[in-house]
């Protein structure tokens, strides 16, 4: 016992020093730029979404309570707080190759994605409307977004996947219109898509999980400075899908390609282990979004049910401008 006391004492001394220093630092914590609050108990999408029949994803775990942005050196630190502690990946082997969950989801979380779409100019004709692939929703007119931050457990894979999905879509368009498509044309298209995607979408890799909160850093270079409370934000929480499947129909060009999903757990009728349950039968426009921050006076359930299959109009999400709620701390919407 005595022989471990020396290293223990040394370690405790170091930790104590670091904690005391950080306590001092906490007194001068970075300035809060804004906080968006969200009601608890609304992690059910449009009201019918049910958690998968899994033992590692339970109601409340994807229930967003707030999103806070802080000004930090070199960028913005976002902090999302959930209703329950964030489930940490363990060393469970998850495939026959022996890959363990903590090696594949190395950022310290694995059950959710958080999308933050930012409408920087709030001009009606500006920005993109479609959200990231698989969200089955778009920004409402007037909320078109210029930047998106997607916190996901496998950011590099997501980034590559986004480029691949967009390249594939644009290649299909090109092949439908161009008299001939050479490999060079595809390469050029891919380079163009990659540049555009990288300037438009950011997948945080500096991530810290503490209890029920996840903090992720977004560099100023991506947003052109710190996040502003005068911008509009669409914030959506979804379930994360860690794996990627090769779309054989797209790869071998057999029939129509399947629905593209960027690391998102889908919704399906009934109850399942591999997807959210409570989906409507033959309903391609029901969004698999679990929790969304919506403007004051509107109900999430109403917003997420407002789509039209006949008109092929998906759900439209309105951006929330924090400055509009300035002075109303932790505004409940």
């Amino acid at each position: 016992m005595v022989r471990i006391l020396c290293p223990v004492a040394r370690w405790l001394a170091v930790v104590t020093a670091v904690v005391l220093l950080s306590a001092g630092a906490a007194a001068t914590a970075p300035a809060v730029l804004f906080t968006l609050a969200d009601p608890t108990g609304d992690d059910h999408g449009d009201g019918s979404l049910q958690y998968p029949l899994r033992d590692d994803l339970a109601p409340g775990e994807l229930d967003l309570r707030s999103l806070t942005a802080r000004d930090e050196a070199g960028g913005t630190m976002f902090e999302a707080t959930f209703n329950k502690p964030i489930r940490r990946p363990d060393r469970r082997a998850i495939d026959a190759g022996g890959g363990t969950l903590d090696a594949i989801a190395s950022l310290g979380f694995y059950t959710f994605n958080i999308d933050i779409y930012i409408d920087m100019d709030q001009r009606p004709e500006s920005g993109r409307q479609p959200l990231l692939p698989g969200r089955v929703a778009e920004a409402a007119p007037g909320s078109g977004w210029e930047r998106v931050i997607c916190l996901t457990p496998r950011p590099y894979l997501a980034q590559s996947q986004l480029v691949r999905i967009e390249t594939r879509a644009q290649e299909r368009e090109l092949r439908a219109t161009a008299p001939r498509v050479d490999d060079a044309d595809v390469d050029a298209l891919r380079a163009k898509v990659t540049a555009a995607a990288n300037s438009r979408a950011f997948f945080p890799t500096a991530v810290t999980v503490v209890g029920a909160a996840v903090r992720f850093f977004v560099p100023a270079a991506f947003l052109g400075g710190p996040a502003k409370d005068t911008w509009g934000y669409i914030v959506a929480v979804s379930g994360a899908e860690l794996g990627e499947r090769l779309d054989l129909r797209a790869t071998f060009r057999i029939g129509e390609p399947g629905v593209e999903r960027l690391m998102i757990l889908p919704i399906a009728p009934g109850r399942r282990r591999e997807s959210f349950g409570g989906g409507r039968q033959d309903d391609p426009l029901q969004p698999p979004l679990v929790d969304v921050i919506v403007p004051a006076g509107t109900a999430q359930e109403t917003v997420l049910k407002d789509y039209d299959i006949q008109a092929k109009r998906p759900v439209q999400l309105q951006a929330v401008v924090p400055a509009a709620y300035r002075g109303v701390a932790s505004t409940r919407r």
């Binding site: 016992m1 022989r3 223990v8 209703n83 026959a96 890959g99 691949r164 209890g211 071998f252």
Partner: protein, 728 residues
Amino acid sequence: MSRRLIVLALAATLVAAAAAPANAQLTIGGTTYTKFLWGTDRNQGSLYNFTTVPEEGYGDNGQGSEVELLLSARLGRKVEVRGRLHSRFNQNFWTNFGGWGGRNPSGSADRLGPCIAGECGEFDPRSNQYVKLRGVAVTLTPGYRWLDSATLGANDFGQFDPFVIGRIRYIDRDNASGMLFQGSSAARKVTWDAVRISLPKLWAGPNFMTGRFHAADAAYGGQIRVAPNAKFDVGWIGQYVNDIEIDPADGNLDDGRDMTMRFRNAVVGVKASARPTSTVNLTGQWYYSDSQSFDEFAPPGFGWTSGFSPVLAGEHDDHTWKANASVSDLGATGFTLNAEVFSIGAEYVSMMAARRESDVLLTEGHDSTWAFPGPANAAFGVFPGNPTRIGYGGWDGNAQQVATINVDNEFSDFDEPMAETAIGWKGITLAPIYSRGALELKGEYSYIDYNTNWQAFGDDTLPVNTTTFPVHEADTGVGHNFRSAYAPFQDKTTHIFVAGANYSLNVGRGVDFFGKFKVVDEEDLRLNEARFLPYVVGDCTGGPCRGRVNEYSPGNSTSVIYSNPSLINVGNTTGYQWKPFDDISDDDRDLDYKLMQVGVGSQLTNDLHGTFVYERYKVTLQDGNSAFQAYNLHEMASGDHEKNRVILKGRYVLQGMEFGVQYEYNFGTFDPDFGSGFVPQIADDTIAAEHHVAAGSRGFTGRFGGWNSLESRDFDQYRLKAFIKVQF
């Protein structure tokens, strides 16, 4: 799989979809794995690194592939059917050239032993590339208010509790089948699950079997969880295992046949958690188990050297409980404290508790690189023909603790987590975490005492060489033998101390530096009362031992374990073959264990991640002397160990394909110190050949004829695993 085959499969999908009702849907997906193993142990029994299953192979060399076709048919909104067609790596080496030819085991009258290494080719399913139907289940979601779903068929049953009914994996995660009903009410504030699991006859009973009559054996389980609000929930769980046999006393078949019990096991539990604030999380769990095996069909006990069973013999009951508290981001300093107090009963038995892929305790526990008693990870290594199976490097990382002795690390590779039993453990763990920006500091201090600390298996009226507690490999060596919870004599305490740090440097795509320092201080006095010494005091003084047995109770003596040595002559020296067991310190264990790990990982490109790890273990171990002989069964590990591990990992992702590789260089030394009081012998040519030691080297022959070398050993081993995974 060729492109043509894939196109055909897709065409079949489209045809099937076209023929089905309008709202029906048939989905075909799949996964292919290709694995490359290479290692200097030069084993080729199968394409898995490890197994203890008799007549199964293990190996560290070879290339092979397996494919899994996932079939899922949705017949409208309420009915879904799924299944898989899956081949196995097993002994399907690429060198089998498609699995043809080979030795016919029935024709050779088994003269050549079991089929391993693919040598039986097309005559053995394990080497003829068979594809097996697996995971067939029908899921009903009838839309009743009281029933959410009913799943009939294969399942991993992971929705219960690792202390009671855990995630079940053998080869697959859904080998087990049963009927699972799940329901809810009050807007899912109340949920319930009820299950009947057909009892796996491969392992779910005494002696790893369920007897001759298995078809009606089952485990019944249920749980209810009530979560009135987000701050509090409480749940109750129970299971009952019913392993029955046809009553041999019932000779009248005309009125049907009576049944009688082989093994039964009941477990009940309650657990609650509270989250009074967003940063405080409190949980508590308590379980009670009762188990009984019946002598007519199950062994009444085990020899202390040969106790292999997933459950205890006879009737036992015990409690298990633990409580956790977690305070996150204390005072917004980034400081989080996790604490756990726990006690897992020595006689706690849950037949269906998780066997692996769960971690029921907060502590890191022991390190998986020291998985078996001998310095090279060999079990029973003092006897010829028992080399290490997993290799000197063992498994990677620290072990996961499970609440059963029915631990299963079968058919795993070195890069997978190893599970260890925590039966009998009680103690406290404090695990602080400090996070600030890119820096994370983590620590652990655990104090572990044992409910299995006892003398003569806890009952000194009984002989010590038969017991109702299966000892498996017995707990000796540097680490904790993964399924050994019981020893005839134990008086053990363990302190585990871990300090670790991670730092992410924001350069390029980020560079992650990590490291940890771990200390384990463990003492086990084992036999700690003189009345248990095998022979009377002075029995061996001044010449040959006289064999005057010391009885700790009438008719019972430890001399059945620790017999006296003979006097032998080696050269001009006369002395004992091993030291007589005449002092209670002869079997004492004192472990001074240090691990230092440093590593760096980086996302080199969007698709490629690389990691480098270096680990250095420095261990000084006293694990009994030559009187103890590692229970006469295993290579002794007393002495100084230095082990080094250099690990390189890479993972590359390309359009749904994942390539992974892990390369390890494991090297080190072992300088034995088996004490004094005996005359070292010299290995002759026979011993040298059988035990892989140099002729003329020093050692001693133990009670059961095993050879323990007294020479220093140098280890120098390489191994590699690479895989390609494609999901479609």
